[in-house]
Symmetry: C2
Subunit: 206 residues, 2 copies
């Protein structure tokens, strides 16, 4: 049902739920190049944005959709000779609360009607940032976003999925020129930087 073999899914009971990554092509391209994700002190939006479609919910039941970020290892990664390499061990992962989609809680009917997008979530490296839309991550560490569905009445998590294409390394500044170019081409807010040599090169490559 539109699931890729390498998607990691966990059903907590026998629901027939199905989540697909809506902008999979862009995430694939991101993953192929080098998956750097900017985090800043004041918080930065993700690029690409997490965008999903859900099927198989009960239209009349109430659900909350959450986004959280699993730290994949305890390495501090380094960009050496145009490649990301695992560095020395770091501290334990920072604990962060899941980010609830702002339409939560809502009916299965509502969640299934349109593509669900997370454009407002902000990634930050500042511990004391307490805004509800802020998620705290460790720079130079590897993360994998995870989508969870919570049954509001049962107060239980009933489904979880994560996609390999959405893995990323948090950085405070881009290391790889191609990732930067990808964003400049696809994010309207970066349109001011379209006319540089790097972008033109990247565009002819594709």
């Amino acid at each position: 049902l539109g699931q890729y073999e390498h998607d990691q899914i966990h059903y907590y009971n026998q629901e027939n739920i199905n989540i697909t990554l809506h902008n999979r092509d862009l995430w694939n391209r991101f993953h192929e190049i080098t998956n750097e994700m900017i985090v800043t002190k004041i918080g930065r939006r993700m690029f690409p944005i997490i965008s999903i479609n859900i099927h198989g919910l009960d239209p009349d039941k109430m659900y909350t959709i959450e986004l959280s970020f699993d730290q994949l290892d305890t390495h501090r990664w380094r960009y050496v000779s145009s490649q990301w390499q695992p560095g020395m061990k770091s501290d334990q992962p920072i604990q962060h609360l899941p980010y609830q989609h702002p339409d939560s809680p809502n009916y299965g009917r509502t969640w299934m009607k349109d593509t669900i997008v997370f454009p407002k979530i902000k990634l930050t490296n500042k511990i004391d940032h307490t805004g509800t839309s802020q998620v705290i991550l460790n720079s130079l560490h590897k993360y994998k976003p995870k989508i969870s569905i919570i049954d509001v009445i049962l107060k239980k998590k009933i489904y979880e999925i994560s996609f390999n294409e959405t893995e990323f390394i948090a950085v405070t500044a881009y290391q790889n020129q191609e990732v930067k170019a990808l964003k400049i081409r696809h994010n309207p807010f970066a349109k001011a930087f379209l006319d540089t040599e790097n972008i033109k090169k990247e565009m002819t490559d594709e």
Copy 2:
């Protein structure tokens, strides 16, 4: 409990619900001067914005908050000699769907935590406007916004309130200079027009 004598309240059962108008002072000033509210073809935000505080909900129960607009009479109003006067009878009121607050549905706990604001609602005079944030009104007719609370499980309206200060006459262009001046002073998006004689006059009056 913070209710004014002239607020019109309707309890559908014995709940201890209490809603107060958060920006009552601004609405009072609006009502004293002349209560014109702009409606346009593409939809205009309200000024002032409806802004309320709710108490007495069950923190764990789920509610939907709605805003609707009751047409107060069937007159077509006219601005003559610096005053609004009832004109001839018009057609029957336009039917419009209530506007649901975008955080709906949600827990009583969430609704009571902060002031609830309706900045996104748009007033339009175009029948065929179907955006969910659009509410269709008849220009030159008198309206009174009404806030309703719906119990999500019972699927029943359990409370209704409307405030006299929030009555308004829908117009496609301001007739009264003082209302225009009030908006220019209080709405940041109108800051471009702050330095005119009318505004200065109004400011010294207050």
